[in-house]
């Protein structure tokens, strides 16, 4: 096996394109999973079983089927019913939806970890329910779950190469394209491998530091 630095140089423009796509998918997917997860978490706390049950069934279903299957389903099956999105949009929706079922659990644990005395104090001060949530419960719950959410972001980063399966040119997609065109696999795959490490390792250190700071 030979290592060809010029191949690295040739790959870099494609690499930056791929990195941008990967980070876009990651950021948008994270935002979707953070917000949708909170919606699910509230749904599960609903007083009505007509809300709780559907939320429970849907989220269990999503959590227990593979992301790749969901990607294919959204990308190849939905168009049969004339529902079409771009590959990138489909990828973001699939990742966000899939991970929202995990963030839901994180939020739920965070909300339940807020001591009951906080609810009682809010009642004693006659705070309205929405204010109790926004000013008292959620700030405390979310502070506790930031590290856990961060770990899912890192997980999501490592799942973004699956988007290649629906033709999104993320880092892996670009690397494969380059490899097939130039018959040079070692350099592009190594470059993106290093890139994943360079992003996710510092991120995981950051999460550990946050965990020490926030979870007390």
């Amino acid at each position: 096996m030979t290592w060809d630095w010029s191949a690295v140089g040739d790959f870099m423009p494609l690499f930056w394109d791929g990195l941008l796509v990967t980070l876009q998918a990651l950021v948008l997917g994270s935002l979707l999973s953070f917000s949708l997860g909170l919606v699910w978490a509230f749904g599960l706390r609903s007083a009505s079983k007509f809300v709780r049950w559907p939320v429970n069934i849907v989220t269990e279903f999503i959590r227990n089927t593979p992301l790749l299957v969901q990607l294919f389903f959204l990308f190849y099956v939905l168009p049969e019913w004339d529902i079409t999105f771009s590959a990138m949009t489909t990828g973001v929706v699939a990742i966000g939806l899939h991970y929202s079922t995990y963030t839901m659990q994180v939020y739920r644990a965070g909300i339940e970890a807020v001591p009951v005395g906080q609810w009682e104090a809010a009642t004693a001060l006659n705070l309205p329910m929405t204010r109790t949530w926004t000013a008292v419960i959620l700030p405390q719950a979310i502070r506790r779950v930031v590290p856990a959410l961060g770990n899912y972001v890192i997980s999501m980063l490592k799942d973004t190469p699956m988007l290649m399966a629906i033709t999104v040119l993320d880092m892996l997609g670009e690397a494969r394209l380059f490899a097939q065109q130039n018959f040079q696999f070692t350099e592009p795959l190594t470059v993106i491998g290093v890139a994943f490490v360079l992003i996710s390792y510092p991120a995981s250190l950051l999460m550990r530091a946050l965990e020490r700071r926030l979870v007390r």
Binding site: E120, A121, T123, A124, V136, R216
Partner: protein
């Protein structure tokens, strides 16, 4: 068993519900003698209240009333239902049977077409405005600084301006001796300091009734005095009605107009502190006091 107790006589209800409409908005209701509602009229009434937890009857057909402006201490062995009474008044619990009135209004019921029905959230919130509570575990909001712990509810619930609420908070922090801690988080304060902030926070809502639920039980012994001094001060300088569950008998003796001895979910006896502590009628009371004094 009969449901009556001698309490309604002791607390001197005058059957005049009007007097209880004290204000939540007048500037000085809790910091000086400006509250017009203090004339010994009935402010709180429990009528045949029963509360069960599972098969365990904690309050049993309880009747009692508290007159406006009085400081009432509830004593008795643990499990006798004292804390349950405070939690019912704060609407943290609902009675299984019976009714509770505060200032002439039903607390958990409302009258509709002449019939008594369970109260809606709006009605409960309205009556709850008159009541404040200080908890054993302080329950300050850890995500807010001391100042905002105190101003949050006056601003969002009473609609006070931020400036007015902050000025009021400063006065109250002066009162509890914590003016210099206004910009700290609760976690930076000692337990005693946190509890004093919690007292200020409750007073900021200008309640007619202040419920004190074993407010020194979670404190280290050397911190108890500071909190009790603040409460003595408030009891002596305001017209606020206090309902106090405590194991600090000397404090109870100092501030109380009336002491209620509970046993098994009923009022065993009641009277002025000299009577209950000095010459109780029941052996059960004597035993209890012998054990805690």
């Amino acid at each position: 068993m009969s449901a009556d107790t001698p309490l309604s006589k002791d607390s001197g209800p005058t059957k005049d519900p009007e007097v209880t409409s004290s204000d939540v908005t007048s500037p000085d209701a809790t910091s000086s003698g400006a509250n017009p509602a203090v004339d010994g009229s009935e402010l709180i009434r429990f009528d045949k209240v029963t509360k069960r937890f599972g098969g365990n009857t904690v309050l049993d057909d309880l009747d009692f009333s508290v007159a406006s402006g009085k400081h009432v201490t509830l004593i008795g062995p643990s499990g006798s239902g004292k804390t349950t009474i405070l939690r019912l008044l704060m609407t943290l619990l609902k009675p299984d049977e019976g009714t509770i009135k505060v200032g002439g209004d039903y607390l958990t019921h409302e009258e509709k077409n002449g019939k008594l029905v369970p109260a809606g959230e709006k009605h409960i919130r309205e009556v709850r405005k008159n009541i404040g509570m200080v908890f054993q575990q302080f329950n300050l909001f850890p995500n807010m600084k001391v100042l905002r712990n105190i101003t949050e509810a006056p601003v969002t619930v009473l609609g006070m301006s931020k400036d007015a609420a902050e000025e009021r908070a400063r006065e109250l922090l002066d009162l509890v001796g914590l003016a210099e801690h206004i910009d700290k988080y609760p976690s930076q304060l000692s337990g005693g300091q946190q509890q004093r902030v919690a007292i200020a926070r409750a007073l900021a809502m200008r309640p007619q009734v202040l419920l004190l639920d074993e407010v020194t039980s979670a404190l280290d012994p050397e911190l108890v005095v500071g909190v009790l001094d603040v409460l003595r001060d408030i009891a002596g300088s305001t017209d606020i009605t206090m309902l106090c569950v405590t194991h600090e008998m000397s404090f109870a003796r100092d501030i109380s107009d009336q002491v209620l001895m509970f046993d098994s979910g009923r009022v065993l006896e009641s009277g002025p502190p000299e009577k209950i502590f000095g010459d109780p009628e029941h052996d059960r009371t004597r035993e209890f006091l012998g054990a805690v004094l």
